[in-house]
């Protein structure tokens, strides 16, 4: 995985840094397009960036 700052990731994906923080803190689930962009920028498969965990099991 590429090392990158939150602001750099936000700029490349087209979201705000606060949205990147919200994704990291599991406070926001991005759209499919944004999720794919994040994976592409980080250079990893989508499932390595995002996993689905049902709410009761978090």
């Amino acid at each position: 995985m590429r090392e990158i700052t939150q602001q750099e990731l936000a700029d490349k994906v087209g979201v705000t840094r606060q949205t990147v923080i919200a994704m990291e803190q599991d406070k926001y689930s991005p759209s499919l397009e944004t999720a794919f962009k994040v994976a592409m920028v980080l250079g990893v498969p989508l499932e390595q960036c995002f996993q689905y965990v049902p709410r009761g099991k978090r």
Partner: protein, 142 residues
């Protein structure tokens, strides 16, 4: 703390402060219930919003709005609309009740100004609910 807030979030806080500062005294004190006073209040909120929003735009380099901002904004508008619709139904119901009971004298100038305040108040409450819902949306999980 301000640097951790997005441009949109800062803008919302400024809007909320402006609304509370301008509208709060009018509805809490409710001393001068005249058309001129309401017009003055509208001008004051416009001027204050321009000043605050311009200041925030000037100090914020990154003014990008993204999908999360749009989603939170939609939730805010939904809450604001539901609030406005509910208050309107309530207000119209009370108006109808008082009219049919004969409590209402529409030839009274004060009655007209009270209606102005009531319906204006409904708009303001709905707008505050819209803004507050968005602020909460930024602080909690979506």
């Amino acid at each position: 703390m301000l640097t951790s807030l997005s441009y949109r979030e800062k803008s919302l806080y400024a809007s909320l402060v402006a609304e509370l500062v301008v509208y709060g005294p009018y509805f809490v004190l409710h001393r001068q219930n005249t058309v001129n006073h309401v017009a003055g209040m509208i001008i004051a909120i416009i001027v204050l919003q321009i000043i605050l929003q311009s200041a925030i735009a000037a100090v914020t380099r990154n003014r990008v709005t993204d999908e999360r901002d749009r989603l939170i904004e939609l939730r805010g508008y939904r809450a604001g609309y539901l609030t406005l619709a509910s208050l309107m139904v309530l207000g119209l119901g009370l108006l109808w009740f008082h009219a049919t009971e004969g409590h209402l004298r529409l030839d009274n100038e004060r009655a007209g100004l009270h209606f102005l305040s009531a319906f204006f108040g409904m708009l303001i409450i709905a707008d505050i609910v819209k803004t507050a819902t968005q602020i909460v949306g930024y602080r909690t999980a979506l």
